[in-house]
Symmetry: C2
Subunit: 413 residues, 2 copies
């Protein structure tokens, strides 16, 4: 008998019919003899509807505390409904709010971090033989006795944190795609499902455009040794295990699979700061200002000018801030770039073939960055798909069967 | 400076526009220099929508605990939205769940009773100069750490309980009618708004068909000395004060106003048990069985047969239970009756005119009951409106102006 934590995203429980379907999946695991804890997101559009109501009663954004009070009701509703459905199907279930489940967070409304998980009540309910449902995305700030939300990817993080605290055997992340693939199947029809991937590679994939998991929950899983299993709630595909690589897998990776997967990203913009290349102190001040904003900076390069990528949504504000704070005159923003990343354990050996592919395609690379597990390049966004497909073929990542993509996905691959 | 508790029902906050309108009313009180605590119900149809979702995922009713988890989200949403609207209009507000506001209840999910109110957090927020919003209808059972609901009229009860615990100067119940009238204005066009009514009379009116207040919250108000002020959230009418009668008012009542108002009720059925009149022990057993069901029994009469009224929704089940438990053969149910009640402090003096009126109308009275403050009679339901109008005229309860009725009311008068 294992202890299994299962997380279902909003699209998996978007309707009463889907809730019943998810209930059957939960019961299948329970009837296989396992203890089951379920973390469900808010139903499909609930969060958007609540945000819309808030916008209609207020010209300004609501206070973060009140927005959290408002939005956390979404998960309470979906979890209670799932408990009602499970009980109706003969399996008594108890739904717990984040606070009841012992998820304690910082007081940063809208983007709280989990500081502690004390799942006493969860254990009690499991010991009574019940299926336990925990509202994702939320917790309690002990100092203020206020409910908080964890921000983007919060329900995944709740599931991983609960799994870690309970020392669960596995944390299954159910979503609307089959798992983690060698590339986005919507771009590369021959993309293959990865049966297993290490935490570090998964982090690189997540940070560079693969939206199937958020870096935050993968980091949490790695730190607490939680095995993730990414699966579709719409099919019975085996999905992808994310875990520390076992010895034999590493060996095989080192010998043969120099590249695990290709990620690509259209959400970055390139910021170029001219006239600082010969002033190291000024360059340092640029990065100090950037660090103060909390904006994610990637692909830094210093040549004739200083350039780096930031999320497109922050690009103009970042450029204006640099001009205002440092009296810089020529900060430019390019939103037409794309980023392509090879990820794998033997990435260094792949560099030559990587450059040769771009040369053969006559696609210009404007900037590169490498790490132990990643080789990234910037090109024009319009060239991105062509380059991803070519690299996927060059590195022989494709499988015999075509990957399956499901419609209506908010997650990407 | 006073401390004012205001309660708004679901129809008062049925849309984003109504929430903004209610926010303006709350602010008007705050700007008059008062401390304000607001208790809001769930928005218009929210509860029905949640019940519908539950029915779609379960063929059986959901467990009471899970139904409470589900339904309490409705008040959290409306209160958070109202807090967001108030803050947008320049008046910082904090919304609190029932548990956060210190509303502690029994563990009877779906029909919990309040056992204690410890409004420490409410006081703290008031002391910070904030408007405080408390989610109505809900509380926390300390033994189980589970959220509970108070059942029908629960938001009124929350408001009265909070007002009592804070020793508020008044508890304003905002609804979709102008206040308590001398009769239902939909039946009696000349019905007059009562500026003031005592707790005892209000209890009789509420128990006998006037749905503007529930007996439960009036009883709570009387026990804890909370002054109620029933008002419309759609108009600026002065409304009705419900309080212990001041000396002068009693005197005036005793001299002139023998009758305060007329209530009528179409929701009762008459149960008649034949063949028990000569068996006092069997009559006692009938009432013991009835007491065990918790069904409200009124208008008991023992003549050739034993008869009494119960709510129509319980009538058939009650009759079947009596037949099954006591081996009775002839228990009949009449769902075509109506009940008419005169309520006032000098009701004894009115009895003669009451009978004369029915005689003049040629309406047959089948059963009567009296108490210190009430004189009730049963007649055919089809004769009810005619009798109510005639009595209203005989006892000169009408005002100069016609009463105003608002559409879409779920409350009655």
């Amino acid at each position: 008998m294992a202890l299994v934590v299962q997380k279902y995203g909003g699209s998996s429980i978007g309707s009463a019919e889907r809730i019943t379907e998810v209930a059957r999946r939960v019961i299948a695991t329970k009837e296989a003899g396992h203890d089951v804890v379920v973390v469900a997101s808010a139903m499909g559009d609930t969060t958007d509807e609540l945000l819309d109501l808030a916008a209609r009663v207020s010209r300004t954004p609501g206070s973060p505390r009140e927005m959290d009070m408002l939005l956390t009701s979404g998960e309470r509703i979906s979890n209670a409904l799932l408990a009602i459905a499970l009980t109706d199907l003969g399996h008594p279930a108890t739904s717990l709010s984040g606070p009841q489940a012992g998820v304690f967070t910082t007081g940063d409304h809208g983007s709280a971090r989990i500081v502690d998980v004390l799942p006493t009540r969860v254990r009690q309910e499991l010991d009574r033989g019940r299926i336990v449902l925990v509202a994702g995305f939320q917790g309690l700030c002990k100092d203020t006795d206020d409910v908080t939300t964890l921000g983007r990817g919060g329900s995944d993080t709740t599931a991983v944190a609960i799994a870690g605290a309970l020392r669960a055997d596995v944390c299954e992340i159910y979503t609307d795609v089959d798992g983690v693939c060698t590339a986005d199947p919507r771009v590369v029809p021959t993309a293959r499902l990865l049966p297993r991937v290490g935490y570090a590679e998964m982090l690189e994939l997540a940070a560079n455009g693969a939206r199937v998991l958020m870096t935050r929950s993968v980091e949490y899983a790695r730190r607490h040794g939680v095995t993730l299993h990414v699966r579709s709630s719409f099919t019975d595909e085996p999905g992808t295990i994310v875990a520390e690589p076992a010895g034999e897998v590493v060996e095989r990776d080192m010998e043969k699979e120099t590249v695990t997967a290709i990620a690509h990203d259209r959400s970055s913009a390139l910021v170029t700061v001219a006239g600082v290349a010969d002033d190291p102190a000024l360059v340092a001040r640029v990065f100090r200002v950037l660090a103060g904003t909390g904006v994610e900076v990637d692909m830094p390069a210093l040549g004739a000018a200083l350039s780096f990528t930031v999320p497109r949504s922050s690009a103009v504000a970042t450029a204006e801030l640099l001009e205002a704070e440092l009296g810089l005159k020529s900060v430019s923003v390019d939103v037409g770039i794309g980023k392509i990343s090879l990820v794998g354990s033997g990435i260094r050996a792949a560099t030559g073939a990587f450059w040769e592919t771009f040369a053969a395609l006559e696609v210009e690379i404007t900037q590169v960055a490498t790490s132990e597990l990643r080789l990234s390049a910037l090109c024009r966004e319009s060239e991105l798909d062509r380059a991803v497909r070519a690299l996927h073929e060059v590195f022989e990542l494709g499988g015999a069967d075509q990957a399956v993509v499901y419609a209506g996905s908010g997650r990407g691959w």
